[in-house]
């Protein structure tokens, strides 16, 4: 590119393929590093788990230090506890002692080359092709469609590299898993040989799942996932193999059997002295899939940004303007991306998986979560409750509009009344809910006391399934009415007085002026308040959470509270995410419907 200055348009345009090549090279390197990082993370975890297994073995009576060292093929060293604590390793305790007896330091295993060569070669080829193209057209500016085409090709390249890296990582993680399983089995075997019972031997193995009983049945050692147990039990070849890999329920498990000495009396449930150990492979728990997809998408975005900005290099003023604009947009855009769109897409991803917090495997299930929700009565009754609760919005709007009309004049008393009405809008919902809960208490609440004073029996405001939701709706009205009133006042102030004058001269009475001047003049304000309040009402949570916890008998179980319970009480994140997306769809449809209805009525000046 000799002689091509930054201000030379053709020269600057000619730089484009070169820069694109550089950007693609950098992006593929990032993707490869992401995959390699996932693998090294898994290896470190395996090393830590090995150290804990070795420490557990050390604690088994009758196991010698030589046994512990031989477990990890000499990679373990047993040192005094005072010398330990740093680097990979674990403290070992003798039975009943509070102080550690030894520190078992572990050297990381030197396994594999640790580099995704196939993906690397693929990336190298792609980048070389781009570089060759750039070199061949060194003197000519690239065609005008180059940025779009190059972005597409780069995206394809990134997808291929990411797929290859994922493939490689899966294989490597499988190898780490096998090695980890082998050491777990060996540790259990050593412990068994030293006289440990199956439970102790399984604990020494340090593998999450073990089964000493009939496979697929609940076991008192640990519970094996039903799908994995059934798959192993159904296959006699697997059952008899010393080590195997099995895919069950969409997840890859590594398993094996270790022969133990005959258990003591009363432990006859350990058949033929065989302990089955199964654990979920690192290819499931340390999979870099999400990180790879994110880095591929991010790389494609960055490359396209560079490619589309590059032609501006010849026009420094335009470039400076564009960069300044992007500079101002970048913080907000980054925040949106990271804290709004990122979680949004992640929740979509979760909703397509069987994702439970207690379960390390998150098998892909497609739309199964959504399909299951179709026949989930609890969910639909929550949606119905939400819909009923939303009926408080039109009531609140009517009250707020009446108050806005009443407080139109700006006298001192009116200003105080306005302040009083607006206060709930700036008060913490939790505080409001706590106070109302107290006011509406069945026994000592102020509401029932006041009713009792005039001879009306107590009302079960929050404890009767027929009344609780209505009580919440009344509180909802009280909470939003001040805010809506202020918005309506602004809308009323924007209606020119002269329209009212004209209507008066035309002979319109107060009701006709309200009907023909005020309501049409407030149309956009009404719409704004309706849409925002309906959305807010669909998202009601704190009020329910504090006051009724969805009860009584689920009468106030609204959608967001239902989702919260599904996620944080039952820990079924996949279901909860699917519910969230259905709620999103409902809100979206409601808003869209409002817009359509408004448009159909015709726009005016």
């Amino acid at each position: 590119m000799s002689g091509a200055g930054a201000t030379n348009a053709a020269g600057a345009a000619g730089v484009t393929p070169l820069v694109a090549t550089g950007a693609a090279a950098a992006a593929t390197a990032v993707i490869l590093l992401v995959a390699a990082d996932a693998l090294s993370g898994a290896r470190e975890q395996a090393t830590r788990e090995e150290a804990r297994a070795a420490a557990s073995l050390y604690e088994v009576p009758g196991v010698t230090e030589a046994d512990v060292v031989s477990l990890l093929d000499g990679r373990a060293r047993i040192v005094a506890p005072e010398a330990g604590g740093s680097g990979p390793g674990a403290f070992a305790y003798r039975a009943g002692a509070l102080q550690p007896a030894a520190w078992i330091a572990v050297e990381p295993a030197d396994e594999g080359n640790g580099w995704p060569w196939a993906a690397f070669v693929l990336a190298l080829l792609g980048v070389l092709c781009m570089a060759a193209w750039a070199a061949a057209r060194r003197r000519a500016p690239p065609p005008s469609r180059y940025p779009a085409a190059a972005t597409l090709l780069c995206a394809a390249l990134f997808a291929l590299v990411a797929a290859a890296a994922q493939q490689w990582a899966h294989g490597e993680l499988g190898a780490v898993s096998s090695a980890r399983l082998a050491r777990g089995l060996r540790a259990a075997g050593i412990a068994g040989a030293a006289g440990a019972d199956p439970e102790a031997a399984a604990r020494v193995a340090g593998l999450p799942w073990a089964s000493g009983a009939a496979l697929g049945e609940p076991d008192r050692i640990w519970t094996m996932p039903r799908e994995a147990g059934e798959a192993i039990a159904a296959d006699p070849q697997l059952r008899s193999a010393p080590r195997y890999t099995v895919v069950a329920g969409g997840a890859t498990y590594h398993g094996g059997a270790v022969a133990l000495r005959e258990g003591p009396a009363g432990r006859a449930e350990t058949p033929a002295g065989t302990l089955h150990l199964v654990f979920l492979g690192y290819e499931e728990t340390s999979s870099p899939t999400v990180a790879l997809i994110a880095s591929a998408i991010g790389s494609a975005l960055v490359v396209s940004l560079v490619l589309f900005l590059l032609p501006l290099a010849a026009r420094p003023r335009a470039l400076a303007r564009t960069l300044a604009a992007w500079g101002f947009l970048a913080p907000a855009a980054a925040l949106l991306l990271v804290f709004t769109f990122g979680p949004l897409l992640f929740s979509l991803w979760i909703s397509l998986h069987d994702w439970r917090l207690v379960d390390p495997a998150h098998p892909f299930v497609g739309l199964e979560n959504y399909r299951a929700l179709l026949s989930d009565g609890g969910w639909w009754s929550a949606i119905l409750n939400t819909g009923v609760f939303t009926l408080h919005v039109p009531a609140a709007m009517a009250v707020a509009l009446a108050l806005a009309l009443l407080t139109r004049e700006s006298r001192r008393a009116v200003r105080w009344a306005r302040l009083a009405l607006f206060l709930p809008s700036v008060t913490s919902v939790v505080a409001i809910a706590v106070v109302w809960k107290w006011l509406l208490n069945d026994g000592y609440g102020l509401a029932n006391r006041a009713l009792g004073a005039i001879g009306i029996g107590p009302v079960a405001w929050l404890t009767s399934p027929d009344v609780a939701l209505v009580s919440l709706m009344v509180i909802g009205v009280w909470m939003v009415v001040g805010y809506q009133m202020v918005v309506f006042q602004a809308g009323l102030a924007a209606i020119p007085r002269v329209w009212y004058d004209a209507a008066k001269v035309d002979g319109a009475g107060p009701w006709q002026r309200f009907r023909h001047i005020t309501l049409p003049g407030l149309r956009h304000t009404l719409f704004f308040v309706l849409v925002t309040s309906v959305i807010g009402s669909f998202q009601v949570f704190s009020l329910v959470y504090v006051m009724t916890e969805g009860g009584p008998l689920g009468a106030t179980d609204v959608a967001v509270y239902h989702i919260y319970r599904e996620a944080w009480e039952f820990l079924r994140f996949g279901n909860a995410a699917a519910m969230s997306w259905i709620l999103f769809g409902v809100v979206f449809a409601a808003t869209w419907l409002h817009f359509r209805l408004l448009e159909r009525r015709g726009a005016h000046a």
Partner: protein, 387 residues
Amino acid sequence: MTREPRAVVLKGVRKRFGDVTAVADVDLEIRPGELMVLVGPSGCGKSTLLRLIAGLEEHDAGEVWIGDRCVDEVAPGSRDVAMVFQSYALYPHMTVAENLGFGLRVRGAGPAEIGRRVSEVAEVLGLGGLLSRRPGQLSGGQQQRVALGRAMVRDPGVFLFDEPLSNLDAALRLQTRDEIAALHRRLGTTMIFVTHDQVEALSLGQRVAVMDRGRVQQLGTPHEIYRRPANLFVAAFVGSPPMNRLRLARDGEGRLAGGPFVFPGSSPHPEATLGVRPEDLTVAVVAPPASGPPPGSAGTRPGPHPSPEFTATALRVESLGSEQRIHLDGPDDAAWVARAPSALRIAAGDRVDVSVAWQRTHLFGPDGSRTGAAPQPGRGSHPGTPA
């Protein structure tokens, strides 16, 4: 479709907004079928007066009569008046047809009658093709017509216009003015028209009420207002450019004098103001002392002037095509303006002879009210008189 026109009578009507008196004890009678214009500077109370007649404001004292009844306790919609607003006040969410028919609709008229009346009015005003449009889709002139039509459709006894032309551009304003005048001739309805534009007032009104500070300063025909202004305010407000003025004071012999003028006869007032309309001044360019033909030979009075009252310097000359306005350093350095035919060859800096048509001048007493025309002043007895 016209009905018996109604008279509007105001008896001692007063309106205060807080400490400000907007309308101060106004007595005014608008005859049936008359087109009365209320004119005055902004804040003079003319719009408030109109809104009092419409019933959009309530007066603090006095009575308002429309036709043969006192309407003080009658709602605006029942006063048999219709109003056209400055901003037109069309209802933006209604079509033109709905706007026109609104007044009938709220009175419970049937759709057939509304349709008939709306199409009648639309035909008169040429709005036929616009009936299904909304006000936002109309030009300013079209909106103005709709506002007019909305007033006409109810066939009221009195039309009230609140500066209806001030939002239009100059050409459209002129055209609409003529249309309103034609409409008045055709309908014969009582119309009260508020404006701050004196040209509009004089050209449109059968009678004009000039208002200032909440009072009617003068009520009369346009000719009376212009030719015999009742006081200094009316004299200064009406006429463009405004009337030239000169302060006079009584001299030692009891005569009024000011600038070059000494008026014969002793004056009852210690001081007075002389008013001369620009068209009542005649200007001729003074021949320079050197030889050569006089440059003012194209003036109105070629050759020696019969009675040049004083000489002055032309400070600035505005050419308006049909005439010229000559700004003079008038007597006693008052800034005077004279109108001259466009044929007069004159340039800024020229010395000019100025003569005055005395029978059309005005003398105002110390309280500002007109006492009559100024007499021909004495000549040659004053140092300011030209040689």
